[in-house]
């Protein structure tokens, strides 16, 4: 040991100040990493700028009146009628049908998985849900058109249900959103501490009462966030409605007849060779901006809900 110390003192290096030594490599790398992170800001700005720019061109066109967009009920670009309602109602209709399936089913499955299922069952069911979540949406679109629509036509009659209809698109969209809601809800249910459940059992509560009256209220912020994210997903969902909900805007609340949603309209319009600076080209940017703002708002609300109302346990 003494020898070692001696050796070290013999070879004593000149003392330099490590703190002041400029390390250009480190600085360059750090700047590159920062730029990578900052790129996401550019993407958002890019979306807002590009969509906003083209949307402005759309709104400035002589044939487009801001007022008639929200007061008229026909969307027919070829004869310069731009009423947003037919696209909006069908978007809301498919989303409402989807959520009426996904919320009750998704919450029931989540409660079952978190409160009732044995670990063995949970470990088999969760991968199945992940498989459902990983299937591309075009496959769901195919499913809607070739399974759900014939099923609905068999139940309600071929006269009542058109080949393309919002009901089948909405129902299948519900199946698509189910695993999303389930996994987010299940996460927040299992985050509720065991002690709360034990206390309720100690008071003589049944399993159902513990689940519904203790665990669910404690996890409410997470559940609300799951539902909001689900709605945002439903509004932005494209391929299912493009395949199964029908082509051509239709101002109706009847779920059994075809009606084009905002996303379906964008896909159909841009499917062909779209010429730049046409009114169609500009209109998809206006619709895209509208979609972006709605979903952004919903996502911000969901994050705020989680932050604001989260019950924090020790």
């Amino acid at each position: 040991m003494a020898e070692l110390t001696k050796k070290n003192t013999e070879k004593q290096a000149p003392i330099t100040s490590l703190r002041r030594k400029p390390r250009w490599g480190e600085t360059i790398i750090q700047s590159l990493l920062f730029l990578s992170g900052f790129l996401s800001i550019f993407i958002t700005l890019g979306i807002v700028y590009e969509l906003g720019k083209e949307a402005m061109l759309f709104f400035q066109m002589p044939d487009v009146e801001m007022l008639s967009i929200i007061t008229t009920t026909e969307w027919k670009p070829h004869i310069n009628k731009f009423g947003i309602w037919p696209l909006l109602t069908s978007t809301l209709l498919t989303s409402a049908i989807a959520m009426s399936i996904a919320i009750p089913l998704g919450m029931s499955v989540a409660i079952y998985l978190s409160e009732y299922a044995s670990p063995k069952i949970r470990n088999t069911l969760k991968p199945i849900l992940e498989v459902l979540a990983g299937i591309p949406t075009i496959v769901y679109g195919y499913f809607a058109l070739t399974f759900m629509t014939p099923l609905l036509r068999q139940i309600f009659g071929n006269d009542a249900v058109q080949i393309y209809n919002t009901a089948s698109a909405g129902l299948v969209m519900g199946i698509l959103i189910l695993p999303l809601i389930t996994s987010m809800t299940e996460d927040s249910l299992s985050a509720v501490p065991r002690a709360l459940r034990e206390a309720a059992y100690g008071m003589g509560a049944t399993k159902l009462e513990v689940a519904v009256q203790i665990v669910v209220p404690a996890a409410l912020s997470g559940i609300a966030a799951a539902i909001i994210v689900g709605v945002s997903r439903a509004i932005g969902e494209t391929m299912i409605v493009a395949v199964a909900a029908g082509a051509g805007p239709n101002f109706t609340l009847n779920p059994f007849i075809g009606a084009e949603t905002i996303t379906g309209h964008i896909v159909r319009i841009s499917g062909g060779d779209l010429s730049y600076d046409s009114i169609d080209y500009n209109s998809i940017f206006a619709l895209g901006l509208f979609l972006f703002l709605i979903t952004l708002l919903l996502n911000i609300i969901s994050q705020a809900v989680v932050r604001r109302f989260r019950e924090v346990y020790e």
Partner: protein, 413 residues
Amino acid sequence: MKEKEVVQGFSNNVNTRNRYGAVWQIIFQASTIVGIIALIALMLNIINSAFGYIAYEARVDPDTFTVDGVPLEQQSKDQLLTLLQSELSSGAYNKLENEKPFADRSREEVFQLIVERIIRPEIVAVWDLWPSLTQADEIRATVAQEFPTAELDFVSWLTSDFVTRPQTSEPLTAGVRTAILGSLWTIFFTVILAFPVGVGAAIYLEEYASDNWLNRIIQTNINNLAGVPSIVYGILGLALFVRAFEPLTSGEIFGLVDPTTANGRTVLSAGLTLGLLVLPIIIINSQEAIRAVPRSLRNASFGVGATKWQTVWSHVIPNAMPGILTGTILAVSRAIGETAPLVVVGASTAISFDPESPFSKFTTLPIQIYQWTARPQAEFQSLAAAAILVLLVLLLSLNASAVLLRNRFSRRF
């Protein structure tokens, strides 16, 4: 007496409460079963369409082309070319020559052209798997009665030929090779853009970023971008890559393509668009992987005098890599399945030649499925089902490799 009533009331109440509990437990279980049934129905529905009887008629009898007793299937490429030239109009022949010179085409390709253009088998009826299995005799009777000249065959729409043949407009000879190659090219550019940038951003946010307003905005922004509908990215890609960067994405400034026909609707534009789409997902997944690397490892590295970057490069990244790769594979499988943004960016509706450069026109597997699904004839639905099976097998093997990777390399600290 009164006490007994209370006890009585309590026990009755317990029964009711337990009944409620039992009923709701059944409801919760039933919901779960409904979800599983939906998945099974989806799979069965696809398999049902992907196999089954078809009845088809040749528009021109192939026996009429037998030369010197040699049937069409065994003739050489030159014989086939002569036949093609004599049967097609010179305009159609020259058009084919322009698309791809006949000298470059293999014998199989020429044979396929003859089947497609001259013999032209036409599907007259299609049955799904279930009726094919249960009502085979009735199907035979129907075909014999309604289409006396038609041949009836039990086919699997998903064959090795289906995977290796290029796309055509004839359902019997259509394949998905063009689409698979299109998907692979697209994904290549997606990964090239999104992986380094995504991992870089994750390292910055986890290792370097201090808690100030700018970094908080970046983090919030990334979380929000992950929730933006994919079609919005498609519109961004259309404005940015297809239009604003057209000289770059069409390959014009490199002088590699004919400037009169070049446009920005290329593999490169599609890949970059999907790159932007999966970037937030890769960042979030990589952040989680980096966060799982324990503090002590970094401190040990700093303790022996390593700089920040040396620590990150030699300790944080290697330990986080399995997690980062798993997250990236999951993001890639999301990108492979995306359809809507590529439709908007401008995937070609009908191309039969493989993409050969970043500046090629393209179609991808999901786009192909979309186009076939959108057609009303049953044979195209069956093609779509077969293509879906190819896509699902591709995604399943990717996901399985992600799971394997996670299990093989995951370390517990």
